[in-house]
Amino acid sequence: MSVDFAVDRQAWRHLADAQVNVELDTGDMILNLGPQHPATHGTLRLVVRLDGERVVSADPVIGYMHRGYEKLTEFRTYPQVTTLINRIDWLSSFANEVPFMHGAELLMGIEAPPRAQYIRTILTELSRIATFMLFLGEMGLQVGALTPPFYGFRDREHVLNLIEAATGGRFHPNFNRIGGLKDDLPWGWVNECRNTMKVVFDACNILEELVAENEIFGARTRSIGIIPPEVGTGYGVSGSNLRASGVDWDLRRDGKPYLVYPELDFKVWTHPDGDSYARYWVRLQETREAARMVVQMLDRIPTGPIMAKVPRIIKVPEGEVWVETENPLGQMAYYVISKGATGPFRVKIRSASFSNVSILPWLLRGVYVPDVITILGSLYFILGDIDR
């Protein structure tokens, strides 16, 4: 497949027009998908120029949820920042906290104790399961099946209960502290977790049977929204979306070692097709893989403290650090610049969905309206993760 990287200037002019949303006498129809539209799960607006039902050009308009986190972090101390970054990707909040905490710990020269590292990894994988579980159900809804999302929600609930039992918050755990964790696990949590992983495996099987193996679902998703690997990387598409294009790149394995991933035995799933079906399939396998990893880790949690020795007032020494992790949605990274104060000087939040969605204008050209929804669904973005 040949790929043109050069920007189509003509298309850009169209997009600029579409932005103003003035109907010009071109014979095309401009359709506003969103900001309030059931398919965009959040306030993403998609200005689509249609020729019949075929998309001529599409321009995502984002920013309806922009909360200015990069600015806000400059006015917060390090412990206060955790509360904010929880809300970037609100479906996997715990996973958002980890890289930031890791960055601050690197700057301070602290290392969390092994038990804390294990619990962090378990909770990160749990939030990955929770996120993907929702996706696996919701993707069904995007292509019109009413029932799968309920199964997704139903079984995700078990995982959320686990997270809540350990951290106190279903969605916003705020459980990480610089140097460790707020608390240890409650009594009986490990057993509970083990049982829940069985539920997760069952749920994956159910959703596979109900959605992935359905011929209609296959017809709707196969060879729809193909992202060639070189285009995907150029746009900064990451995570499962990139692995579904056959790029064997997972920061848990390939990045700088963080948490306890180097000690774990896991497989990085890829799919050669790069279409919507491949993205669904990869996430399905990664959910199972995550559950397997959790089971592995539950047997190995070491004993010991959960908090390293940390000064009472957290002042982070001057320096810059770049910490990237493999979050459920893709590469989540923070570029933390500290000047020795109690709060960061500048934090560049590199969120996965932002780049994942930036490929939409390229990807949506020439598809049908129903496929727009399929592609949006299969890219799987969280609005908070786009707008930050």
């Binding site: 955790t82 209960n161 916003h172 707020k182 109900l210 679902f217």
Partner: protein
Amino acid sequence: MPKLPKPKAPGLIGGLGVTFKTMLKGAVTVQYPHEREDPPTRARGVIALKEENCTVCMLCARQCPDWCIYIEGHKEKRPPRREGGRERTVSLLDRFDIDYALCMYCGICVEVCPFDALFWSPEYEYSESNIADLLHDKEKLGEWMETVPEPEPLEVGAETGKK
């Protein structure tokens, strides 16, 4: 190259089977106003205030990332505890409001409180139809103290006995 597993039955039939089986099973939902789910002990539902422990040190109000805690206080003289001791000055609360419309439920205030005056309670039924009514005063926060659970035991392998 991963090969997709061959489906056992046609996917269309299998899907029908899944929904039919689920239909025969019971529901998993909770009929909320009639029955309630118990949140776990640690659930961060609402912040309760033990007024007698508060010394108006303002730490919580300062550390709050949202600036949603409002405190006012005054000082009073109290007779000495021991015979012949010095007269004590105590700080008493006049006002302790938390604006739950702003609160992000991060728990920083509970953690920084040096005198254990703030606690998390799993209570969750305090919604209001008017956003201004979410500003709760110290009497209301004090009522929630009853719902604060005992801390639960920790998992095997946890280090007990805090330093």
